[in-house]
Amino acid sequence: MAYSDKVIDHYENPRNVGKFDDADDSIGTGMVGAPACGDVMRLQIQVSDEGIIEDAKFKTYGCGSAIASSSLLTEWVKGKNLDEAASIKNTEIAQELSLPPVKIHCSVLAEDAIKAAVQNYREKQDS
């Protein structure tokens, strides 16, 4: 399969790879996917008191498109507020990375991951 230049770039030089301390209240963690399906994404956001995403990190088990989708997402969410981040659509990711139809599920997974991370952060604040 031919990958787009942007997918290859993110794959070769993934941005914001890493892990935050899950126990920290300013961290929201979203882990989506399943090993059996061939991809698992863990996306974490670090949120300021003002509700702005200051930093983001990811680790992804999956194909090049899945890695690129999550890498791109960590770049996009930085500086956004939670509502803005949670409203990122998979189609935007797919378009930016020129994903072929068979890889659209990777962008869906990335959308699920940021939504899950935002939800996790909000639950932490409520409790």
Binding site: Y11, C37, G38, C63, G64, V102, L109
Partner: protein
């Protein structure tokens, strides 16, 4: 310390999918393809052009027969192993249908066998698909246990194309012969790489392919036993070539190429298999210290140049993507439109994630030690990089048992 060896990339490590044509084979084929060459129709009986073509084709037939210790009259030319499998299985089923309509095969056969069996099921035949053991082997005992009164055919591959394990076809042959059941072997991966002897083995039908043994693509053969005689219903009708079993003008240059490839394989097999096994073990010795790396399939009963390896916690397609210097194949079918992991690895009992994380390395006649060493470096680097990226590796390092997690399957 050896001097660094430069290798040109990509390095071809996919000899189980196909092999380059040996230069000696090219020379033999090219000699057929000029206006001075052997361009006659082997079926032309009325002139010297036909006689020469017939001589070339019959010489090739003897060379292929010699490779498997058979009589040349037992060799039927086909377009490849897929056609041979179709001809053998459908041909036997259609000829012997009054005797019974039950066929035994295994779940990890090549699709040319499995899909042919599926077609026969649609025609009213019954097929038993045996589960291989955890090492990927289909044993004589398994076949014995599946035979019925109405079984007419068992079809079991010699060597598996994905994991490279080698079945005891001599043993299965004994079982089948004793039960009066015909035995077909898909020999595409075995013939030319490991010894096959039709005098010693009670195999009734054997599919072969030229391009798996450094011959050209588009040509193969089916061995059809004469004593005791095996009958087939033709699948391709026409001029009655190949004793009526497979019509169509013989492709002289292709057959000459196949014959030459068989001759070389016969002469060089012993030395070559030692060399390939050494390359395979060199490769494995240099990667086996990576944690959580496993060989799929039996360690001993395998083709000399084949290795299928699972790298836990990394995904196969991304692994291939980072191994751009290597031409290898993934046990996961992710690169095709389906996202299903290999049915072969699943049948061995591997879970989806291990099946997704597997790669097939196959070494061949033109593989060098330098290439193997470069492949080792690439693999080590890629696995390290992808594990650094893998949340599953993190969790494993933290002692989390991944099987206890409820994943949101999608």
């Amino acid at each position: 310390m050896n001097a660094p060896v430069t290798v040109s990339t990509p390095i071809y490590l996919d000899y189980l999918s196909t092999t380059p044509v040996d230069p000696r084979v090219v020379a033999a084929m090219t000699a057929c393809m000029s206006t001075e060459g052997v361009y006659g129709n082997a079926a032309s009986r009325s002139h010297v052009f036909g006689w020469k073509a017939e001589e070339a084709v019959e010489n090739a037939r003897s060379q292929v027969a010699e490779l498997i210790n058979a009589d040349p009259r037992e060799i039927v030319w086909t377009s490849g192993a897929t056609e041979s499998d179709n001809l053998a299985i459908k041909g036997v089923a259609h000829f012997y249908h009054k005797k019974g309509k039950h066929i035994v095969t295994s779940k990890i056969e090549h699709k040319a066998v499995l899909d042919t069996c599926r077609q026969l099921e649609r025609e009213g035949y019954e097929v038993t698909y045996l589960d291989p053991d955890e090492q990927g082997l289909t044993t004589p005992e398994m076949v014995q246990g599946a035979l019925r009164e109405d079984t007419i055919l068992a079809s079991v591959m010699h060597a598996n194309n994905e994991i490279g394990v080698v079945n005891d076809i001599a043993g299965i042959g004994e079982i089948c012969r004793a039960a009066g059941v015909l035995f077909h072997v898909d020999g595409a991966q075995g013939v030319g790489k490991i010894p096959v002897d039709m005098e010693a083995m009670k195999v009734d039908l054997l599919s072969m392919s030229a391009h798996k043994m450094y011959g050209p693509k588009g040509v193969g053969a089916l061995y059809v036993r004469r004593k005791p005689r095996v009958r087939l219903e033709a699948q391709m009708h026409g001029g009655g070539h190949e004793r009526g079993m497979r019509s169509g003008t013989l492709a002289t240059h292709q057959l000459v190429g196949f014959g030459e490839a068989a001759r070389i394989a016969h002469e060089e097999m012993a030395a070559e298999s030692v060399q390939l096994q050494a390359l395979r073990e060199r490769f494995w010795a240099a990667i086996s210290d990576i944690p959580e790396v496993y060989i799929n399939g039996d360690r001993e009963q395998r083709l000399p140049g084949a290795l299928n390896v699972s790298f836990a916690f990394v995904e196969g397609e991304s692994l291939i993507m980072s191994l751009r210097d290597l031409a290898i194949s993934s046990g996961s079918a992710c690169t095709s439109a389906s996202l299903e992991p290999s049915y072969v690895l699943r049948a061995l009992g591997l879970n989806d994630e291990m099946a997704h994380s597997s790669l097939r390395f196959s070494f061949g006649r033109f593989t060098t030690e330098g290439e193997v060493d470069h492949a080792v470096q690439c693999v080590r680097h890629a696995v390290e990089k992808l594990r650094e990226l893998s949340p599953l590796w993190d969790m494993f390092q933290d002692g989390v048992d991944l099987s206890t997690i409820e994943w949101a399957a999608h």
